[in-house]
Point group: C2
Chain length 357, copies 2
């Protein structure tokens, strides 16, 4: 059976890093049908919209999407609905990609690259599971209006709606508990139940779901405390589950802690195992086209794609082993370079992974 | 003229640390009238409410409030409106304390205590200014209901409202620009304009206010990126201004980065310079009553109180110099102890500050 993969390179370094991941996929001799389409600023430039109909259709009809990155300063002045990031929000919404997996792993070879002291991050392996289609990202109503109450009635105000329904919380909680079962058997649910109705409800529902997983330890933490504990003692975490907004902040904080952000993949799945796979880092327009971007996060995202959406565990492991090997061999793109290692370009890194397969 | 100060010790280590700050204030021979009242869990236990009428009245009629900390696990099962943290939310709301100052400073003597590598935090001095009476903390409507749209119409859902009006943003922006003028002349406004209507508006209004401060550099950063940059390169920041929710998360992250959280004061002011002053750390019920809590953040909060609410700059500086001296003399409570320094109790630390005045 042929697996269909939509390849959406996007902006900035997106095309360069995706090209290397495609090279790796093609080298595996699997039955894949890869088809590319423009997305983000590149799509706006070519077709007047960051997520053209044809791109969305291709993604919806594929088994999985390999995504680069979107965004570039040149699109910053566009109206919001035309800006590059609307593409990623649109894909999440239309494909129903509610479960975002963001591993924060500190690679042995890169421990020194972390901002944190080595003893705090050596061996770090956290999995942040972020709900991705609810919360204040998509809640209605939102907009601008004249305030009728509050501190300044009569003044112009802007507003958004935070919300979670019970089934939305239940399904992401199940994802988290099931993931924890395969790892350290611990889930930390992050909320702000002391202030928000939405997250008191979140906490209640996660607690209820947790009763079905007596083998998994569950604790609850306020988001402000979680932001602190990630800095103070990151290894205390195993699986962290939280909402869309808090997950956006905490997963970025956690990935930066590792010193390995150029290495961290991510997966966003729906209930049919269709998924979108992208590196955790951004489009880095400042280094685009220079051949110095690190393609490993994207290559590892391709491995996750094979595992989660196509069920090709062996092939996924092959890629991961190859990445381990190039690291052990001392190959480094500039972002992870240190004395005594060998500096390579984006393309050389991709070639080395292919050679190591 | 006698200055009236309401003293609200609260729960956990609150009473111990506040006692030391009061000792320091009393040693200064100023014309102060200090009056204590229960707050938080202690007030609930004594009077059935975390913010009794009499406590609120005392606070409202004072020039400033010296606050310890609230919260204890024993009150976790109370209904939300009776929980200790409602006291602090109620004081902010009723006193109109919209401007929260949270310095994140890395003390020279404590650089080694940071989770971050010393070169990243040595000399760190950030001021986070958090809006404290708006945003999703107080927005209406909020509650539970049956969803009428979204992914699961008909399901139970919880919701909250995020909102900011123009004058609310303007006044906190002015506070930030004016503070920056006295420091590094740089303001970073943190938003999530790429997703939220509220924070697109925030960004627009802060930009507009910024035009009145051509001598202050203004930049804008998304909250997820800010959470990363705080870890990666904290010294790039001078003054950070943001909303209530993002400020809650980022100020805690930043204070933990410094390794000095036991040393960091905070101030929350209204437009009449009335203020509430409290340490940045929490009530730490696990160490309450053991005499090992660090009173310095509370003592430094008392210094801020003298400066901001009473205009007693000289007295404030005296306290700050005394704290510098005890640190230089090598005195340390257990939280900041390291080899070669002298371990002291909460009370001994307070006494040492008094002696150094
Ligand atoms: C680009 C932006 C809309 C997006 C988000 O906030 O979800 C990004 O920060 C992410 O985490 O993928
Ligand atoms: C206790 C809680 C309501 C409070 C907040 O979220 O503002 C606390 O975290 C703080 O930062 O003072």
């Amino acid at each position: 059976m042929t697996h269909k993969i939509a390849v959406l390179p996007g902006d900035g370094i997106g095309p360069e890093i995706v090209a290397e991941a495609v090279k790796v996929l093609n080298a595996l001799d699997l039955d894949l049908e890869l088809q590319s389409a423009p997305v983000g600023g590149a799509a706006y430039a070519a077709h007047g919209h960051p997520l053209p109909e044809a791109t969305l259709k291709l993604a919806m009809e594929s088994d999985a999407v390999l995504f680069g990155a979107v965004g570039d300063w040149k699109y910053d002045t566009l109206e919001r609905h035309l800006r590059p990031e609307q593409a990623i929000l649109g894909l999440r919404k239309h494909m129903g990609l509610f479960a975002n997996f963001r591993p924060a792993i500190c690679y042995k070879e890169l421990t020194h690259a972390s901002s944190l002291k080595p003893e705090l991050v050596a061996g770090l392996d956290i999995l942040i599971i972020r709900e991705l289609t609810g919360d204040i990202y998509f809640g209605q109503p939102r907009g601008r209006r004249v305030a009728t109450d509050g501190h300044f009635p009569g003044a112009e105000e802007a507003f958004d709606t935070m919300r979670y329904s019970k089934p939305e919380i239940e399904r992401i909680a199940h994802v988290a508990f099931q993931a924890a079962r395969k790892r350290g058997k611990k889930v930390t649910s992050v909320d702000k139940a002391n202030v928000l109705e939405t997250f008191q409800f979140w906490k209640d529902v996660v607690t209820e779901v947790g009763q079905q997983y007596p083998d998994v330890a569950l604790d609850h933490m306020y988001v402000d405390n979680a932001a602190m504990q990630l800095v103070k003692e990151p290894k205390r975490f195993d699986v962290v589950v939280t909402g869309n907004m808090f997950g956006d902040i905490l997963s970025d904080e956690a990935s930066m802690l590792t010193g390995s952000i150029g290495m961290l993949p991510s997966a966003s799945l729906n209930d049919k195992k269709q998924g979108l796979y992208e590196p955790s880092h951004g489009s880095a327009p400042d280094i685009a086209g220079k051949g110095i971007a690190n393609p490993l996060a994207t290559i590892l995202s391709a491995a996750m794609l094979l595992r989660f959406s196509l069920g090709l565990e062996d092939a996924a492991q092959k890629i991961e082993a190859a990445v381990q090997k190039v690291l052990a061999d001392g190959l480094r793109t500039p972002d992870i370079y240190s004395e005594g290692t060998t500096k390579v370009s984006t393309r050389e890194m991709g070639d080395a992974v292919v050679a190591a397969l």
